[in-house]
């Protein structure tokens, strides 16, 4: 239990030679449904989460496909207005609450934070398993509300429409979101305590990989922000069921209060979606340039800065709501400030490539896509934060384009990049390189074709959440957008195919297929149940490629053996 004297660094010998006497990997350590459904192994729980979020992502995408199909023509001819309102609501609710917010921390955070800090598991493994169940209970309620008639309030639930006018299953969905939020809090709690208390000897704060820092900053936001949306949702439910009056002007209530409370969480929530993605980006850039991230400390401070400043800017969603112009000005100036750490990170990632040793395997393709898409998404965010511009483009497709650039272009790209980067480690299998590169390119091209035209549509005046649009001139851009969505869909479907294929027929992965530096690459692919067979003592900073040249050489040799293209 206690680390004894003289423990050495984890040995980096290849595990291929120790097959017969090595402990089983975590996937083979126990078979059967019970061993999975009652597991407390953070790696298995991560895979359970991966399965859940993949299903939800597909459901959300299905609704998106229907939306884009409807918008091919100006008339509302595919579905009824009521159905369309349900489609965009469910697309938003599922994607935000069941995919974007939980995924990276609950899948990659769960799997890799303990390993990256040299621990055997998270601080509270049973809480971790419970969080998966709680998450699914919330998800089932949300999905039930779709199938039992739907939800049509928009994912933003603005009152009084959601509290007094909508005839759909608002309360069921609200309870489902509340419960799913609880799961999010449980994950955040676990990650926070783990990072604080369970780092291996020698793993000081500033030796942590940036992905760990990213999860830490994200957990701060989860803990501070999620409870506020929880109570706000309860208030909407109480308003609906008991006419609480809290948002109803007839009783002295204020609908704008809802907006303040809602966005107080929902703005930081977008940083919950983005910070872990940025953490993955740091890992990818370091690994595929084979050098430490430029300005490591500044990237750390930027992450923490974003977490803090992100709580101060919620009013930038409300510039036209009727709040005072002075309040709007305060929020705008703070919004400009929160953009700065993101810019700092962008420069640092770019500088990381300087004098690097860059390879263009699939994860790196996603990382490069991230850079371009983040530039567009982030800078259009600055535009939206600019008061004079936002008045015109608020609630138009400009906003829709912006947030899809950051949520899909950044979060989903990073998710895909991380998935392709860590897939060999998590599953012990290599996927075929050529189809994976094709799908990365398809995702990038399809994504831009889908969403870039929406910036133009927005500035021309096309409002959001419109089932039919009255301006014929807008059709061309909408058709382009829908065409892009088709390409994007194919790009996302391909990995489902070849990754699944790799589980059965993929080549066995060596411990370090990319020749990267990190504790996760020093253990077998897939890892054993307890991650490390000997206690870890850390003596180097993160991404110390200079110190590990021989390890890289060995990995390169093993890679050739595994015949990775």
């Amino acid at each position: 239990m206690n680390p004894g004297p003289g423990q050495k660094e984890q040995d980096m010998s290849s595990t291929a030679e120790h097959q017969t006497d090595a402990p089983p990997d975590y996937l083979n350590d126990g078979y059967g449904l019970r061993s999975w459904l009652l597991t407390t192994d953070h790696k298995r729980i991560a895979m359970l989460y991966l399965m859940s979020v993949t299903i939800f992502f597909m459901m959300g995408s299905f609704f998106a496909a229907l939306i884009r199909a409807e918008l091919v023509t100006p008339e509302g001819d595919l579905v009824t207005p009521d159905m369309y309102n349900r489609l965009f609501t469910m697309h938003g609710v599922i994607m935000v609450f069941l995919f974007l917010i939980p995924t990276i921390p609950a899948v990659f955070g769960n799997f890799f934070v303990p390993i990256m800090i040299g621990a055997k598991d998270l601080a509270m493994p049973r809480l971790n398993l419970a969080s998966w169940y709680v998450f699914n209970v919330g998800a089932v309620l949300i999905l039930y509300s779709i199938f039992a008639g739907g939800l049509d309030t928009g994912w933003t639930f603005y009152v009084p429409y959601s509290s007094s006018y909508s005839a759909t299953n608002v309360v069921t969905a609200a309870v489902g979101i509340f419960i799913a939020g609880f799961a999010s809090i449980m994950t955040g709690l676990n990650l926070m305590v783990t990072i604080h208390r369970m780092r291996a000897p020698g793993m000081t704060w500033f030796r942590l990989p940036l992905f760990v820092w990213a999860n830490y900053a994200t957990s701060i936001i989860i803990l501070l922000g999620t409870p506020v949306v929880a109570i706000t949702i309860l208030m909407v439910g109480a308003e609906r069921m008991f006419q609480l009056g809290i948002f109803d002007p007839a009783y002295g209530g204020d609908p704008i209060l809802f907006q303040h409370l809602f966005w107080f969480y929902s703005h930081p929530a977008v940083y919950i979606m983005v910070l872990p993605a940025m953490g993955i980006q740091s890992e990818l850039m370091a690994a595929f340039a084979r050098k430490r991230i430029f300005g490591y400390r500044y990237v750390v401070y930027s992450s923490l800065g974003i977490a803090v400043l992100g709580f101060l800017v919620w009013g930038h969603h409300m510039y036209t709501s009727g709040q005072s112009a002075y309040a709007a000005a305060v929020f705008s100036i703070l919004t400009m400030l929160v953009a700065v750490p993101s810019a700092v990170k962008t420069f640092n990632w770019t500088a990381t490539l300087y004098r690097g040793s860059i390879s263009f395997q699939t994860p790196m393709l996603y990382a490069l896509a991230f850079m371009g898409l983040f530039l567009v998404g982030g800078l259009t965010g600055v535009m939206l934060g600019t008061l004079g511009i936002d008045v015109h483009v608020h609630d138009t497709y400009f906003v829709v384009a912006h947030f899809h650039y950051v949520m899909v272009g950044v979060t989903v790209s990073a998710f895909m990049g991380g998935l392709h980067y860590w897939w060999p480690k998590m599953t012990g299998r290599l996927y075929p390189s050529f189809p994976s590169k094709i799908s990365a390119i398809l995702v990038f091209l399809g994504f831009n074709l889908t969403f870039f035209p929406q910036f133009l549509l927005g500035f021309m005046g096309m409002p959001r959440r419109y089932h039919a649009y009255p301006v014929e001139d807008w059709q061309v851009l909408n058709v382009l957008s829908s065409a892009g969505a088709t390409v994007l869909g194919v790009g996302f479907l391909l990995p489902a195919v070849y990754l699944t294929w790799s589980l059965f027929r993929g080549k066995r992965a060596p411990a370090n297929p990319w020749g990267a530096v990190g504790l996760e690459w020093d253990i077998p692919s897939p890892p054993t149940k307890h991650n490390f067979e000997e206690d870890v003592v850390v003596t180097h900073e993160a991404y110390d490629y200079d110190a590990r040249r021989d390890a890289i050489a060995a990995a390169a040799a093993a890679k050739q053996e595994a015949d990775l293209v």
Binding site: R197, L224, Y251
Partner: protein, 224 residues
Amino acid sequence: MSEAVQNSRLAHWYRSWEEQTESVTLAMWFFLVTEVMFFGGIFTAYLIYRAQNPEAFAAASHHLDIVMGGVNTAVLIGSSLTVVMSVWAAERGKQKALATWLFLTMLLGLTFLVIKYFEYSAKFEHNLVPGASFEFHDTRAGEHGYVDPSRARMFFHLYFFMTGLHALHMIIGLGIYGVLLFNTLKGKYSVRWHDPIPVAGLYWHFVDLVWIFLFPLLYLIGRH
């Protein structure tokens, strides 16, 4: 207690007893932070509407039973004392004392809920609860000026929401202490390991603290 049983209390993913204790304690502190934010949302709404409707809220508040509320406050403060004593007993391995203090804590918590029940019943009788039957007649132009019944209604709705949420946390606390008492009687806690006692104590103190804020905010508006 045997070595094996003692060591079995140290979960295998921790490197030491200290790491385990510190982890679960830190986890409870972070959880309490989320609870602060949770209650904070409804407190914010309350404070805003009170600032906008001072007379109505004051008039409505005077219909709350300050005696019952005051007794409940004393009861909860007393229960925090019994919680502190339970931690003291656990740290010294005093099993009977521990069981006693846990039991007294539950008793006081139950007392709180019973008094709350009587308070709520009184409100029902006077039609001061959310729903169609709400009536507020205290609109005379007296010490509070003209009071808009709809704003008084807002007060009562917030009162039930906030104290109801608090009472729910109390019930959960009772459940937790029930489990602790049961475990104590089965001899699960020792000097070596008794983490759940102080950790649950943190939770109980927090719920008590919420009441300490609720009481003056709801019951003591403008009273001399």
